[in-house]
Amino acid sequence: MSDLRDTAYATAILHEVADLLAKLAADGSCGAIDLRAMPLGPADRARLEEVLAQGAVKVSVDAGGPSEIFETVYPGVWWTRHRNDAGETVSEFIEVTDCPQFLKSQPDDIRAGASGLRRLLE
């Protein structure tokens, strides 16, 4: 009983994730929850990490500091944590999508890379 009271916010978030995942499955629409906007206590966070445990995919990205992204045991539910160079968390999201936007190559970076590679070969 005490645990349930301590994890009220985690329970609400998990229900929201379930609703978003149902939408993704139904019509492909994506959604996200900003964890830093939520008043999570230590017990809430532990509950979220317990339920949304790491699944098959885990990615590390080095862009403006390290970012860790993993798909949870529920396919389509991704946990994204962005850090700065000092290792401090600057933002954290639960994304419900087939692939987080941040993982995709950005058009400006692609153009810069294409011209850079061309210059190298000339």
Binding site: R5, D6, A8, Y9, C30, A32, I33, D34, R36, A37, M38, P39, L40, G41, D44, V61, A63, G64, G65, S67, H82, N84, D85, A86, E88, T89, V90, S91, F93, E95, Q101, F102, S105, Q106, P107, D108, D109, A112
Partner: protein
Amino acid sequence: MKGESMRNDEREITLGEYLAARGVSRRAFLKFACSLASLMALPPSAGIAMAEALAKAKRPSVLWFPFQECTGCTESITRSHEPTIESMIFDMISLDYHETLMAAAGHQSEAAREQAMKDHYGKYLLLIDGSVATGLDGAYSCIGGQTNLSWLTEAAKGAAAIIAIGSCASYGGIPKANPNPTGARAVSDIVKDKPIVNIPGCPPIPAVLTGVLAHFLTFGSLPELDPLGRPKAFYGETIHDRCYRRPFYDQGRFAKTFDDEGARNGWCLYELGCKGPVTYNACATIKWNAGTSFPIQSGHGCLGCSEPDFWDKGSFYRPLSVAHWGNKATLGGAAAVGVALGAAAALAARRRQDKIVKGD
């Protein structure tokens, strides 16, 4: 002069070009924008649109004046040792005057200030921390032989907007506390014809300034403000509304001393004088020290430092129900959202405090 010319050239390019020239990839910038959107209470999807808009924005000239202050606000915003979302503020703007940070001193620094005001008249952002001394025509606080009051009135004329940083600039703060010997006033008491954003707090949360500047650059306007001139994205809800201990308030579970069972179990600090129910700020979500904690999470009630005249409202350790804070409507609202147990506990707190006051 060469350095001045280079700085002006840098200001003319877009923020995206400026960052790209420094090796910041668009993916890294997207990460920055998504984090900014998070700070500004925008939906996560807004980060992509913000990245696009910010990349095209020009870096504005910013003048930062320190008046009657302790430098705590500057410390709060600049203390980061590594690149953080807060420190990226210095990539987003061209900081043309800041006494504490600039290398120039004496007449050279004053010349830089005057030149920046002339070059960017009508376009620069004016940032103020500290209250404005008005007693003896402002003589209580002077820089370079001129009063803060005269600096403010002169610089405000050419400013596109003014951002009052900290509770002193926003409300007068501690310098204005009784008996206010210097005649300290808020920026908004002096300047009446310019848009002013108040970012109160003692000190304010550094990311709030970044968020306000990002909004200005992204949308070309100031963010939506509450009746006290504070951005609603950060000051739209009370600490109490967003506190992780709020469920304990609703259950009527309160710490009654700083070392009892309730304190050890992390219960609500209302009866120990927490001002969270009447204090509007984002401490409970953004938190401090890179999101590590905030006062309530560390076991101490909120002091209400982002509210006007917080220093003169009685003991920090009196429950709100017996202190001078808020009004009946505000406190009634706070109680209304709790359940009966919470209200009963508030009543018990009032009775207990009455006993303390009477010496029973």
